[in-house]
Symmetry: C2
Subunit: 368 residues, 2 copies
Amino acid sequence: MVTIRDVARSAGVSIATVSRVINSSPRVSDDARRRVHRAASKLDYWPNGTARSLTTSRTHVLGVLLPDLFGEFFSEVIRGLDHTARDSKFQILVSSSHADTRDLIAAAQSMRGRIDGLIAMVPERGSAAAVRSLVRRFPTVVVNPPAAIDSCRAVSIGNYEGAHAMVQHLLGLGHTRIAMVKGPPGNVDAEERLRGYRAALKAAQIEPDPGLERPGDFTESSGYQATEALLRLDPRPTAIFAANDYTAVGVLGRLRDAALEVPRDMAVAGFDDIAISQYLTPALTTVQVDAYQLGVAAFRAFIAQLRSPAKRGARHEVLPTTLVVRQSCGSLRPSAPITRYRRQAPAEWSTAAAAPKRRPAARKGSGA
Amino acid sequence: MVTIRDVARSAGVSIATVSRVINSSPRVSDDARRRVHRAASKLDYWPNGTARSLTTSRTHVLGVLLPDLFGEFFSEVIRGLDHTARDSKFQILVSSSHADTRDLIAAAQSMRGRIDGLIAMVPERGSAAAVRSLVRRFPTVVVNPPAAIDSCRAVSIGNYEGAHAMVQHLLGLGHTRIAMVKGPPGNVDAEERLRGYRAALKAAQIEPDPGLERPGDFTESSGYQATEALLRLDPRPTAIFAANDYTAVGVLGRLRDAALEVPRDMAVAGFDDIAISQYLTPALTTVQVDAYQLGVAAFRAFIAQLRSPAKRGARHEVLPTTLVVRQSCGSLRPSAPITRYRRQAPAEWSTAAAAPKRRPAARKGSGA
DNA sequence: TTGTAAGCGTTATCAG
DNA sequence: CTGATAACGCTTACAA
């Protein structure tokens, strides 16, 4: 392993000079600089980041703590983080899939000294205390904080606003008995979406009916089961708002098995706008969440905090969501045939057309 | 920042003793151990990983270099890596989205000293030299190596075998004029899939027809365009094998716009088995690639190499793929109606039923 | 069983 | 402009 000493010896200078050249300090003679560069490239010298960090106490690494997400959401957040981090020469130390709070803290603990800050996404309402202990140690940005956390920045998905907008949309289509299949209890996203649902109903003078709120856990099968229960109600709801798109897939499945036609017999709405939503039959009306932007915003908040630690006051950015109107709720506009493959999307698709932005044209590697 | 010194002072012992306790060395008296533990937890001491690494030259971090993948593939590979790494107490330093070889090397360079090894996924045929320079520096596992690389392990997707199996399947259904929409030139996955396609044809005494091999780049629009060209041929192909599922989506789109019915008028096959494939109309027959297992295998190969650096001989593991027969090519069996939502998949779905394994039931966070 | 002290590979502070 | 040398926080011989 070639060190700074080897380069110094080979260039006939001291290690201090090599260090200066490497860090492009101006106080070096052209001659010395040249010799050092030559020696470094001859020996193929790569500075040791760990040693560097030890003296400078900067790592240029951002820690990322994520729950056991999977699929697009996870990867898009990471992509947003990584892309933005790259511009600031940061790399990302990821630790995901934490079973519990102890796990989470253990992961953070082993990051001590290796990172300049932390992005933590902890969707469980119960783990606010754990998050606080992280915030004490690292400059932290919390994504979807489980509770108000002092002296740390936060970035959230507009769950409340998105759900509110969706229910308003359904109300606008004439629905009044709107059911909701909820997400897992204790999950922050789920709770916020529920809150938005209820608020929108109340704003329309409709008292939320507990019988129309069915338990669910963000899975397809929970949507299937909840729908089964909803179909037994009399009178039935005329619309089902699922807490996320996977749940909506289950809802659609149960309706199909019941030979009900969507949206004629029942309107169905989801949340997230995952990739499959536009390919469902009928295509799913949903609330688009931009996971990539979530990553971008989180990194920006981190950098801002790093640059001005003085104002570590809690700032909370809520990312806007977009209502994507497709076929599953019917539409105010005449429903166009599904012809996704035109070169240019027709103007009336403004909402749906937003999706491709997240999917770059040139894909390398396995296309999946 | 509380260091080992603070703990030593507070416990009334030397830093060596603290270190021994932290690393649970047996050569410490119970009394000292107790006092150190007490002091450590009182001061809330977390050891500095960087300092630790500097002396031990072990980091317990695995570097991961990825191209600009997106979507499930990316996240599933990372999940597989991360899950497996967790068992060995490893964390993952990710750097993805490299524009070019220089970018890649720069990222690796800044990992020097921070990682114990490297997983590199470099799908461009042209970057074999860059990969070799990585292999010299780190214990490296190459995913889908662009060329034979000495003294490093490799894990590959069974691109060749998968494509071969798919073409055999099409041949078995009676097709003889089978077109292929290729992937990006220079991309290893794409080239291997093409090779498998040609080999299967030759094995059936059919000379591959260059006119039936259309350029593509793993994108939906390239599938659309390639199909346009294929439809002008006379005689037309009776089946189109797309280099990946995204491309197949474009193929299906163009066929729909041409009012052709799939699979009656044209069989369509894809590669990857992305999430949307089973929701397309008709559901896509494709080759399933298990990205999660790719991550698992890559980490295992890394650990094996770390444990016995003696046998650094190049071992190349090729992950099996699975043929997933759905509706888009027709089927040897009577085509069942699409009823995905039964609690239990009917037996005849053995292949398609494999997919859900990759999608765990309990999803936390935003469901996307 | 414990403590002292020599590294690990850098950067940074001094003198020169 | 350059070179010694003291950190950085920890592990690990080596001594006691």
